[in-house]
């Protein structure tokens, strides 16, 4: 049963963007991730699913070293972005995070204007020479985030005044303004209502033409809807990783099957 025969839906064999090999994470003495190896392709949406506490967020945060801020967290194994080890001593995590952007569970726009929210990243990284360039970036990012039409008349009103779904799209615009190569999203829709969720999912689907997107979600339906590849985590292990259609129609591992079909996992 090959679900992928229709041309439009085929996942081309993309280059591997992030290659994680045998990643182990400990929080103090607790072993949160156990030998996870995942190759995340470029220009695809990869979903991480699994029961609460299985280590999805932990793994996601390894990918842009947001875990560095947790003192007790220790990461072993190799994670390579375009072949370069991101845990190398020479890597400045600040620079890494500009390349591997992140969008969070709750929309968290800065309490500044919409414009300032988007231009913040380019400004601190010195990506522009002048105001005109900055304006251009802001506009193009808001367009990519499917927000431009809704906010173009009030770029200088506060970002916190937008609705939840708009805020989340603003956060996505802000993240892509630093021209990252990978976009990590940790449960980006769990604070949104169904309509806003659908809009953000639609946006994610469009973003994959330019970015490699990794999304953590509790909603299997969401993973099914937005992703091309799905990884199922369980108790810190990567149980199954494969094409989304296959995971949801004929998973190989009984644990995956149990989880996605709503049996006790």
């Amino acid at each position: 049963m090959n679900d992928m025969r229709i041309v439009e839906r085929t996942v081309d064999t993309h280059d591997v963007k992030i290659d994680a090999k045998d990643v182990n994470v400990h929080y103090g003495t607790s072993h949160a991730l156990k030998g996870v190896s995942v190759a995340i392709p470029d220009k695809t949406v990869t979903a991480f699913i699994g029961p609460s506490g299985c280590g999805k967020s932990t793994f996601l945060r390894c990918l842009n070293r947001m875990n560095d801020t947790i003192a007790s967290c220790r990461v072993d194994g190799l994670i390579a972005l375009d072949g370069e080890d991101i845990y190398d001593r020479r890597v400045d995590p600040v620079q890494l995070r500009a390349k591997v952007g992140m969008v969070f569970q709750k929309p968290n726009p800065f309490p500044k204007s919409i414009y300032d929210n988007v231009s913040y990243g380019p400004k601190i990284h010195g990506l522009t020479r002048n105001k005109a360039e900055l304006d251009e970036i802001v506009e193009s990012c808001l367009k990519k985030a499917a927000l431009w039409n809704e906010v173009k008349d009030r770029l200088h009103s506060p970002g916190t005044g937008l609705s939840g779904g708009q805020q989340q799209r603003l956060c996505i615009a802000r993240a892509i303004a630093t021209s990252p190569e990978v976009l990590l999203m940790d449960e980006p829709c769990s604070a949104l209502d169904p309509i806003a969720t659908a809009q953000v999912e639609e946006l994610i689907d469009e973003l994959r033409s330019s970015f490699s997107v990794v999304i953590v979600t509790h909603s299997m339906q969401q993973a099914a809807r937005v992703s091309q590849r799905t990884a199922f985590f369980h108790l810190g292990n990567l149980v199954e990783y494969g094409e989304t259609g296959q995971i949801f129609t004929s998973p190989q591992d009984p644990r995956t099957e149990s989880y996605i079909s709503g049996r006790i996992g």
Binding site: M1, T249, I264
Partner: protein, 236 residues
Amino acid sequence: MTNDNPHIASAFDRDLEAVQALIMKMGGLVETALLDAAEALVTRDEEMAIRVRNGDNAVDALEEQVNAECARLIALRAPNATDLRTVLTVMKIASSLERCGDYAKNLGKRAMVLTQMAPIGATAGSVRRMAKAVQLLLKDALDAYIARDVALAADVRLRDREVDQMYNALFREFLTHMLEDPRNITACMHLHFIAKNIERVGDHATGIAEQVIYLVTGKHPEDARPKADVTSGPAE
């Protein structure tokens, strides 16, 4: 069905079981109709033939109910993986059984006509034997489904060959009767169609067996279905 790994939502399991119970009910009705039609043919019992013909309404209604239930299950429970295959399989089987019901009904109708005509040799007995064999096939296919028994399903697929051979024998027998006596032609035409219909029920039983294999393994059986019906053209 096996329930050693129940859903957290127990109502889901109950719904799945309910819809499968409908399938078994359908299967039972169809098997009886098949045997009854053959019996009516042998005993030239017009009453029984009429009963068979009218009994199909129940099967049709059941199929519609299964479809509605399945639609409902999909809408309300968004099943996936095994559950989804179960639901889709149920719909396929129901549609197969509905077709089988139609064939039985057609048998009944033709039996009604044949009771008005002179009997043709011992053909009715052969038809009943074939019907019996096919009914067994159908029963085993449904049993295989309920028990999720791949071995039994594979066995059903193999035994369809025998039914095909029985059909070939009958085909030749009817042809002989027609050539012998042109007055037999009309009756034999009906018998031809009766045998063909029974053979088709056998094919549907095989189809159900294949659904069982797909359901359990997630794959359709690889080898082409062994077909021994040579009447429609050159054997491949």
